[in-house]
Amino acid sequence: MTSTTAAAPAPVAKPAGRATGRPARGVRRKWTEHGLVFIAPFFLVYAMFLIWPLISGLGMSLTSENITGTGGEFVGLDNYAEAVRDPDVWSSLWNTVWFTVLSTVPLVVVGLVLALLAHQLQVVQWLWRLSWFAPFLLPSGVVCLLFLNMILPSDFGLADQMLAAVGLTPEIGWLTDERYAMLSIVATTVWWTVGFNFLLYLAALQAIPAHLYEAAELDGAGAWNRLLHITLPMLRRTTGLVVVLQILASLKIFDQVYIMTGGGPDESTRPILQYVYQQGFTGYRIGYASAVSYIFFALILTVSLVQPLLSRRRAEEAAK
């Protein structure tokens, strides 16, 4: 976990004058005192609302428990065995992964392009930030109800009206046609959250040392060459992180689908979290829902563990 923290600001060394002299004994004792008191409030909440549910959820996944916490009996791995055979688990897992694939690429690429534009132009920064980042500050409910009611409906929705203005009348049910529902959800998501990646890229761009560009300019490198040979290579680390974070965020999709399509048409957009919700909260099979949650958790853990391994290997290769 901590092997990758090299980027942390180095702990500031003690001033030379005091480096040799140890602090007075009383002071040294002070440094070790009262630790638990400081940690207790956080840890109490942490233990109650993260550690305990994590453990009790695992326990529940081995029972036939319902939502009221009664009538559950131990069923071993039955829930997991059922989940593996449940076609709805597989289809909603597939929908989740498909959404992740479809959304990650544009969210990263568009975020990068927007950041490059804003960085390159250097004027009216407030306008770029306002228009591209502000949607991120809207609750999912606001964004999804806006797109559901006024952007995506056929005919009078803004999307169809804009297309009609240039002479196109596609007559597509953006959210009701199986071929387009997922794409519409992806487009809504890109509009809503790309500003986050935009900001991360913008910060990374601003951290690239200026002397690299100055040296390149002296060598006569044009704008295109500077982008290809300085900017993009300098953004590689950031891109790796942004991609992994985006995958993790996309895998957790729930709000957009629940609000805009309810998982339809014909369950073609239902993500795994919605299936957990349906099983646990409307179907009252909370033991089974926990088992499906843990399958989902395994997927998330795999993604978050693969990334540090990959970057470590890359670092090792670079060191050779």
């Binding site: 923290t5 440094w31 638990l36 956080f42 993260l50 994590l54 939502i67 390159q120 609750p139 680390r237």
Partner: protein
């Protein structure tokens, strides 16, 4: 996840303008003008849906679904706003959201700062184990816990209460990690001097450490506030009584009862979306830096 957090520890860039500008703005070459046009088109694409929501909310109810495209109805009216406002629920949800977000932010900042200080500046048996547990928790998405967490809330009698919404959002291990990284970079001399002068642990923490860490605490606070204000899944699960709902949950819940009164729906969305946008207008720089600072570890 651990790798992701490394970026956060890089100090956020201070300067607004990229350093390579060297204080002067580049000239308007043809290339830059093309870029500007592209950027403006993209800006329009991002702003149009927002403008459409506002435009629709100002139309009389009968004009909202008219084609062909028209941005202004037969007249400009605030009818939709007064209808939505009079219904009263929106006001209650706004207050609920504000209370829940402020309390969550306060508790998160205080408990996480205390814990991070405890992990970096004290020693006790089991410290490493506890910190290991916190780091491991960064990889647990709260969404995975909804079923057991809900049952726990039933058992504690916290369903449909503010605390039921607040408490599970308070203990965010990623925030402890960010603060630990920050405290590790803060020199100990000031605190040592205060100890020598006889100050106690608490006074040192509140009068020296907290004021020193204001920027990073602000970043944590901003990030927590935004994510709590916008959180949907957990408040949606744990509130069933409309009177206790947060704004996003209430809106989605009531959407069906609006029927096809699109002007009213849009008016309620505008009211719901505006508070954070106003906050953003005032604290743009802090929010941008806060996101850049905490964002990579916070998700």
């Amino acid at each position: 996840m651990s790798g992701s957090a490394t970026v956060t520890t890089r100090p956020a860039p201070r300067t607004e303008r990229p350093a390579d500008a060297g204080g002067r703005r580049p000239r308007w070459t043809r290339g830059r003008i093309v870029l500007l046009v592209v950027a403006l088109l993209l800006t329009a694409a991002w702003l149009l849906p927002l403008a459409w929501a506002v435009a629709t909310s100002l139309k009389p109810e009968g004009d909202t679904t008219r084609t062909p495209l028209s941005w202004i109805g037969s007249r400009v009216t605030f009818d939709a706003y007064s209808k939505v406002w009079e219904s009263g629920d929106l006001m209650i949800w706004l207050m609920n959201s504000a209370y829940i977000s402020v309390m969550t932010t306060l508790l998160t900042v205080v408990t996480c700062a205390m814990a991070a200080y405890g992990f970096t500046r004290t020693d006790f048996r089991g410290r490493r184990l506890l910190y290991g547990l916190v780091l491991a928790g960064i990889m647990v998405p709260p969404q995975v816990l909804i079923a057991p967490l809900f049952r726990e809330m039933v058992q504690l009698g916290l369903v449909d209460t503010y605390w039921g919404v607040i408490l599970p959002q308070v203990a965010v291990p990623a925030m402890v990690f960010i603060l630990v990284k920050f405290f590790e970079g803060v020199p100990r001399e000031l605190e040592e001097a205060a100890f020598v002068d006889g100050a106690g642990r608490w006074r040192v923490f509140w009068t020296i450490v907290i004021p020193l860490s204001r920027p990073v605490l602000a970043a944590v606070a901003i990030f927590t506030f935004i994510s709590t204000w916008n959180n949907f899944l957990w408040p949606f699960l744990v509130t069933t009584d409309p009177g206790g709902m947060t704004l996003p949950v209430g809106l989605v819940n009531v959407q069906s009862t609006f029927g096809v009164r699109y002007a009213q729906i849009m008016a309620s969305l505008v009211i719901a979306g505006t508070p954070l946008l106003i906050v953003f207008a005032f604290f743009q720089r802090q929010i941008v830096q806060g996101i850049a600072h905490t964002g990579l570890a916070g998700q």
